[in-house]
Amino acid sequence: MKANCWVAPNQVAVENVPDPQILNPRDAIVRITSAAICGSDLHLLHGFIPAMKKGDILGHEFMGEVVELGPGARDGLRVGDRVVIPFPIACGNCISCERGLYSLCENSNPNAAVAEAVMGHAPAGIFGYSHLLGGYAGGQAQYARVPFADVGALKIEDDIPDEKVLFLSDILPTGYMAAEMCDIQRGDIVAIWGAGPVGQFATCSAFLLGAERVIVIDRYPYRLRMAREKAGAETINYEETDVMDALRDMTAGRGPDACIDAVGMEAHHPSAALQAYDRGKQALKSETDRPHALREAILSCANGGVVSAIGAYAGFIDKFPMGSFMNRSLTLRSGQCHVQRYMRPLLDRIRKGEIDPSYIITHTLGLDQTPHGYDIFTNKREECVKVVLKP
């Protein structure tokens, strides 16, 4: 089959690789009908996630049709079923899974010992997301093997198009969880750093969960326009305005009640000098992640407020404003999304027409054009917000 593989930092290529096969009783093989490129794939592309190998198949947002089932996955699924696959691989049997913390499944990462050496304890395995998180082949391919398919695949019964349900695999639940972690109360103002796909869905979700106002921060006018026009956000372009001043002004001095970092470890900094400081430290590996948006989110947040860090981090950050955080009674929440927890309720909302997540799709490409998709998505060319691949 064809698959999009990681070759070296800043290089991916569509290659011919062997077809996947059933390795375990609870596996399913899925023929992929739609897949997407995620902001997390960009961290892999740029080489900021450790333990990548040449030839790793990327992609953790995909859906398709079940073409083969192991003997242990036959209860809930049938060959021919249409399924959306959540990006964290979870067994459904361990205590973390039972508590709904699927991205912390205690069994799905066969390389847990390495992850423990880096992180203290190991999170779940994730499709196409480095050997630290399991060494699983991803879904930017024609076929994928799905472990624990009996709990990990969401069946789509009706003929609702792929475009409306594909993002249940990651970014819609992720944006939703980002907003849910804010513990939104009546009258709350939520500020969101990053107007990428995750920031866009965090915006919709914050409104769904009762936010009074949502303020989105980015530097790409077309992305900010989408947040304004499609989701009703107010926006700040951080290259034109000082973010903290603007937020103080827009909230009459209080600051946003909750702040979401939907940027992650490759934050850009408007001041060339500070951008160079973090980039330099990152290059020397004395700081693995560039946390500018997180720092700003903490400093901007209202006293007693919540900072929801949904953007991805891999290692260590520098100059964490602990004094501000501690003295002002802030709360920090985070996590890889526990996608399985949100899939069904969000599918219901999609069916009822409360959300139509397809509005963020700006490009639909064939699998062969995946490297081009990475290029326009990472360089924000052609007003790219989200690329969907049709293998």
């Binding site: 062997p18 096969q21 847990a112 060494g135 093997r145």
Partner: protein, 330 residues
């Protein structure tokens, strides 16, 4: 580095190697490891100095008159950096790293000996001092390497302990373990365990080159839902014993499983056998076993990925395949 930080810190399964009654001198091993690390820093300093100030180093050693000496010194400088890496890179056993230094010393001594043959006067004198210093360093390196290697071998046997929490009731866990035929499902060095009597079982372990080794074991203590203790009966090539305890974890968190394995090997002659069957590092192995135990009892299968197609094993985690399907016929 303190004692606590060594051992199998790289796992949350909480595993610990213990000193056995015959005594691997852990303290001594720790001291020799500290020495090896010190030598690593020396190598780093020496390597950098040699590379940065070659002419001065050449003058000090009394070989500043020859152009080849510059090349030899450059090579020696680069080699020192290699020693430093071998000795200092964390988590790597320093035993072999120390041996690379010994080899380097021999090379240096040979080079000096050659240089001596053609030199007279002050140069010859300086070379003599260099030789004497080198001989001293060689002694220290040799000593360190021997200590580090000796500490590493498990001559007299060893005991390892590990624990894990599984999301199953204590009676289920006890029953699963009590059926020794289940053990090979997660203890990958075992080929099979056959129950041959009330308390007796026959264990078959895989050995290299497709061979097997087997022995009989008997249960010596059995307390339902609490613990099982077993040991090999007389005549086993590698006498071994094991004990597993089960305790309910508070607040419905499943069952805590603690395992302790012992291998009492009387003399050095058996070491090779033991390594063949139980692996170079039984501590690591028991840790992998417990992870797979958790996977099997909770999910019914040993978890596999494309990078680790044979399932959890620390050794395999270091040598990952690319995350793409294996080529095999369907």
């Amino acid at each position: 580095m303190g004692r606590k930080s060594r051992g199998h810190k790289n796992t949350a399964l909480h595993i610990r190697s213990m000193k056995d009654p015959f005594g691997i001198e852990r303290e001594a091993q720790d001291r020799s490891q500290a020495m090896a690390r010190f030598l690593g820093w020396c190598s780093l300093g020496l390597g950098v100095t040699t590379l940065a100030a070659r002419p001065r180093v050449a003058r000090m050693c009394g070989v500043d008159d020859s152009p080849t000496a510059q090349t030899v010194l450059q090579a020696a400088g680069i080699r020192e950096l290699g020693h430093a890496a071998a000795l200092l890179i964390p988590r790597r056993r320093v035993g072999w790293g120390a041996w690379t230094r010994v080899a380097g010393d021999v090379m240096d001594l040979t080079a000096c000996g050659r240089a001596m043959q053609t030199r007279r006067g002050t140069r010859r004198m300086r070379l003599t001092y260099t030789m004497a210093a080198l001989a001293g360093i060689t002694m220290i390196d040799l000593y360190t390497a021997m200590r580090a290697t000796r500490g590493r071998r498990m001559k007299d046997g060893t005991r390892v302990q590990a624990s894990v929490t599984v999301n199953r009731r204590v009676d289920e866990v006890y029953r699963f373990w009590h059926d020794f035929q289940n053990l090979p499902r997660f203890m990958h060095h075992l080929e099979s365990v056959q129950v041959i009597g009330d308390r007796r079982s026959r264990w078959t372990a895989k050995a290299p080159a497709g061979r097997t080794v087997d022995w009989e074991a008997e249960i010596v203590d059995d307390r339902p839902n609490e613990m099982i203790m077993w040991r090999s009966v007389d005549g086993a090539k590698v006498p071994n014993s094991g004990c597993v305890r089960f305790v309910p974890a508070a607040g419905g968190r499943g069952t805590e499983v603690r395992i302790e394995l012992g291998y009492s090997v009387p003399g050095g002659a058996m070491t090779a056998n033991m390594a063949k069957i139980f692996g170079e590092n039984p501590g690591q192995q028991v840790c992998d076993d417990l992870r797979r135990f958790k996977q099997v009892i909770e999910t019914g299968e040993v978890v596999r990925s494309d990078g680790s197609p044979h399932g959890t094993a620390i050794r395999q985690q270091a040598k990952q395949r690319p995350a793409q399907p294996l080529a095999m016929h369907r």
